[in-house]
């Protein structure tokens, strides 16, 4: 592992080359935001067929009920 501790891994501070020379910058919030966006879309894609199927079954049950009436 590159990081020494968990807080290190969350903050991700390191040397960055800038026009003014080398500076220490922290990139943790940006990197973790990227992975949060990606994982939330993956989770949405996993859940959406399940919810669609539930909705479809509900509609079908309602349709059958109205047909019987």
């Amino acid at each position: 592992m590159i990081f020494e501790s968990i807080s290190d891994a969350i903050q991700m501070c390191g040397q960055v080359v800038t026009p003014l020379g080398e500076e220490t910058r922290c990139r943790g919030s940006y990197v973790w935001a990227c992975y949060a966006v990606g994982l939330s879309v993956i989770i949405y894609n996993v859940l959406s067929p399940i919810l669609r199927k539930k909705k479809l079954l509900k509609q079908e049950a309602r349709r059958r009920l109205s047909e019987r009436l």
């Binding site: 891994a9 940006y30 199927k53 079908e60």
Partner: protein, 262 residues
Amino acid sequence: MLNTVWKTIVAWFLKWGSPKWFYEQSKIWSLISGWLATFMISWAFIYGIFYTPTEFKGHMSRALYIHVPSASLSMMMYFAIGIMAVIVLVWKMKMSSVMLKSTAQVGAGFAVVMFVTGAIWGTPAWGQGIVWDPRLLGDGILVLLYFGILAVYSAIDSYEQADKTVAVLAICTVFILVFIKYAPAMEGLGMQSIHQDSSNVYSGNDSAIDKSYQRPLLMGIFGFMVMGMSLVLRQARVEVLVRYRTAKWVQAIFDKELAKGK
């Protein structure tokens, strides 16, 4: 001998054109690819976030392992949409229109991931989230095209009409992928790109990038491909039920599921 093997493969492939066969057979494939993708992607992300060295552009380069796989997946899916659009218009196969819609539904999400992670990465790296360099422009259009396809599906009630409209739209616009792919290499045409030209990632020992970056990147790209397959199959299974809800075999499935719910 070879002829019979080929004929068996073709016959097996053509069986997938039937919605009923598809619904019966696809569950195991979506499960296998889903679990495989879970392992591949978690390996790639954990390796990418915690173990890659920082010599290459600092810690911000860790966003690479989600930005590039989602970009390549959304582009590959649009290419698949283009192929299926031709099949929908020419051969009018039932399953191709189902897959067309499901692929667009999944691909749109990953086009958004590509765009948003790129903007987050650009904020510290380029000093501005969105710079309209050629590749970013093409990707912006790709996101809009995906949502255009989804809008057509929600606007037109008839499945056949919606499929035809989307197929024409997809065939007319699939060439945007060529632009996105080669935009950084088009400097000779007067385009200034901030995105770097693609490095030779795929070839083993001749690769331009070090193994410590190459391994999680390749694992991420292939993991996303497998995940895309799983997610599209799952969406398509529900889509088949929605489209053929009046068919006898779907009614039998409803019978079973509704009895289970009670």
